[in-house]
């Protein structure tokens, strides 16, 4: 099943996956995945455990080569790009990994400043100042010189978001942003995601099975299923509630399937 895009006529999607086959050595996890995400959209990839959400994410962000098909960012195919082109594409998106994935030997400021060091001509002082701004934007002012081991899990996630936003990316990917967080912290992270989109027009792709976040944030979502190895429903969350597939309704209403 292909996911209809919410694109204006003639608009180039921020992300487009075309006939994507995803998998690992000898094991196909998802087949023929096609969808596109409009610029400025908050797009959710949902589904039960083991359906391939994280696998799809790894293929979208280039950590895994697709078996077939292609992923494009703003019309630029990722796989076809040469090393310099790929580096330029990597600069346009940020990723918040499930546990924050902060580098433990660096302070929060150094973690956020590293992408700036790699991709910008800024001086050391300027990088430090920008990193402080990004950390303040995610509510971590005053923690710039702390190491990841010295802060809580929720704070690590926020710091990971600050690092993902360091280069003002056009697209930010979130892998299970609510995992392991209490409801209040989870809600504040949701607010932060919305704020990032509303303030900067950033395109957001979230892999999650957190119902509260899906209904609070998603403009559109696709649902994956292990049986079909593909997309079984696509559209705004309210429309998915009316889906003809009982598995989709069961997932979104947290009821056991009949």
């Amino acid at each position: 099943m292909d996911a209809p895009a919410r694109l204006a006529p003639g608009e180039i999607p921020a992300i487009a996956a075309e006939a994507l086959d995803c998998g690992y050595e000898g094991r196909l996890v998802l087949r023929d995945i096609t969808f596109s995400v409009a610029p400025g959209e908050i797009f959710f990839v949902i589904g039960g455990s083991g359906c391939g959400k994280s696998t799809l994410l790894r293929h979208l962000i280039g950590l895994q080569e697709p078996r077939r098909g292609r992923v494009s960012f703003h019309g630029e195919p990722f796989a076809a790009a040469d090393t310099a082109g790929r580096r330029e594409l990597l600069r346009t998106f940020g990723v918040l990994f499930q546990g924050g994935a902060l580098w433990s030997s660096l302070t929060l400021r150094e973690n956020v400043a590293l992408p700036l060091e790699e991709y910008t001509p800024l001086s050391r002082r300027e990088r430090g100042e920008l990193a402080a701004l990004k950390l303040a934007q995610v509510g971590l002012q005053g923690f710039e010189d702390y190491y990841p081991a010295e802060i809580s899990g929720g704070m690590r996630k926020r710091a990971g978001l600050a690092r993902a936003l360091a280069l003002d990316p056009a697209v930010v990917f979130f892998d299970e942003p609510s995992a392991g967080l209490d409801p209040v912290t989870s809600r504040s992270l949701d607010d932060l995601i919305r704020q990032v989109r509303d303030t900067f027009g950033t395109t957001i792709v979230v892999v999650s099975h957190e119902l509260a976040s899906i209904f609070a944030l998603a403009d559109r979502a696709i649902m994956l299923a292990r049986e079909e190895q593909g997309i079984i429903a696509a559209g705004p969350p309210a429309a998915l509630l009316e889906s003809s597939d009982p598995r989709v309704r069961a997932f979104l209403t947290r009821t056991a399937p009949a």
Partner: protein, 374 residues
């Protein structure tokens, strides 16, 4: 704010003076990956500065970064800087940027030499106490297990014995043989001058059996097994496996540490004896090849100088060294911080601690054996 791949117009900065006030006008597209335009600085004779945006395209964090620099210069020159004409979102971000520059660091972070010395001194006392606590805890656990040996994890102990014993044979063989060769060569230079070639057997034999066999094996195992213990236990701590044991009421020392300690305490003397044999073999080969001493003569001389007390002293040391290597590895592993970096530091610290304690213990043994006349 985010930039689509299409390149925007280049960033521009214009500075002019209107009624003695400097006007800094920014425009065009601002991208963080591009170098910002060169700004010559505040015009001389100005009494204030106005920040203005004109024909501003897409911009990102590089613009507030640049404007914050202009404002910093104004502050340094004691001039007022008016940003009221900037777009509200840019003004907000500029204010946020300046507010974000207040620094914060944990209270226990050393920010002066004296603080660093104080913290390091306190850390020495804390570490000494931790080692004593850990040794005490291991002893108590060993006593408890001796009362009910069924609870001891014999299978784990056997697996560890294979890891630290049989699997270490190749490296122990190589190093011991080469130590024997080195001792024989070094001794040969001196002994040949006095016509005492045959005493090469005494030199190599006594050195290996009383000292080098146990010490070299302990050094190899500190790097090989002690470091592995620290890395394994450190990772287990990071994965909350140690916490899981504690919540089940199983003391981590009993479950994880004692099998490893016993494995090392049993295998170290065996490996040390093996190292003695290989070292003597190395000396014998050099004695024959370089000094033309027949192996039988070497062997007979060896038996006249080495007695059982020499071998026993080496074995006793090896047991103690095994316990030291195991204790250092397990202690540092259990003390590791819950991060990849913490595990790395624990591994290094395990080896350093083991080597330090080995040298101290070896010196103490030398004094003790001298007093006892062994």
């Amino acid at each position: 704010m985010p930039d689509a791949p299409a390149l925007p117009a280049a960033a521009t900065v214009r500075t002019e003076v209107v009624a003695e006030r400097g006007v800094v006008t920014v425009g065009g597209g601002w991208q963080i990956s591009q170098s910002p335009p060169v700004w010559p600085g505040l015009p001389p004779g100005t009494v204030g500065v106005r920040l203005v945006a004109e024909a501003l395209g897409r911009w990102d964090s590089s613009l507030p970064l640049f404007l914050a620099g202009v404002r910093r210069e104004c502050r340094a020159a004691g001039l007022p800087c008016d940003d009221a004409e900037l777009p509200p979102r840019l003004r907000d971000l500029l204010a946020q940027f300046e507010a974000a520059q207040a620094r914060g660091a944990p209270a226990d972070r050393a920010d002066s030499f004296l603080t660093a010395v104080g913290l390091a001194t306190r850390e020495v006392a804390v570490q000494a106490r931790a080692i004593l606590d850990f040794v005490g805890e291991c002893a108590l656990s060993a006593v408890r297990l001796a009362r009910s040996p069924r609870r001891f994890r014999w299978a784990d102990c056997a697996a560890e014995m294979q890891q630290c014993g049989a699997m270490a044979l190749p490296i122990v063989s190589l190093i011991s043989f080469l130590v024997g060769v080195t001792l024989a060569y070094t001794g040969a230079i001196v002994l040949r001058q006095f016509g005492g070639d045959i005493w090469i057997a005494d030199l190599v034999g006594l050195s290996m059996v009383r000292e080098m066999g146990a010490v070299m094996t302990a050094v190899v195992l500190a790097g090989r097994t002690g470091a592995a213990y620290a890395a394994t236990l450190g990772n287990m701590k990071a994965n909350e496996e140690i916490d899981a044991l504690a919540t089940l009421g199983i003391p981590p020392v009993q479950f994880l540490v004692l099998p490893r300690l016993l494995a090392l305490a049993l295998m170290m003397p065996v490996l040390a004896l093996y190292a003695n044999a290989l070292g003597i073999l190395g000396g014998l080969v050099i004695a024959y090849a370089v000094l033309a001493i027949p192996p039988t003569a070497f062997w007979v001389e060896l038996l006249t100088i080495i007695d059982l007390s020499d071998v026993a002293s080496g074995v006793i040391k090896a047991v103690a060294f095994g316990l030291i290597v195991g204790l250092a590895g397990c202690l540092r592993g259990l003390q590791a911080e819950r991060s990849a970096d913490g595990v790395g530091r624990a591994t290094t610290s395990a080896v350093v601690t083991a080597l330090l304690l080995l040298v101290i213990a070896d010196a103490l043994f030398a004094v003790l054996f001298d007093v006892l006349g062994i």
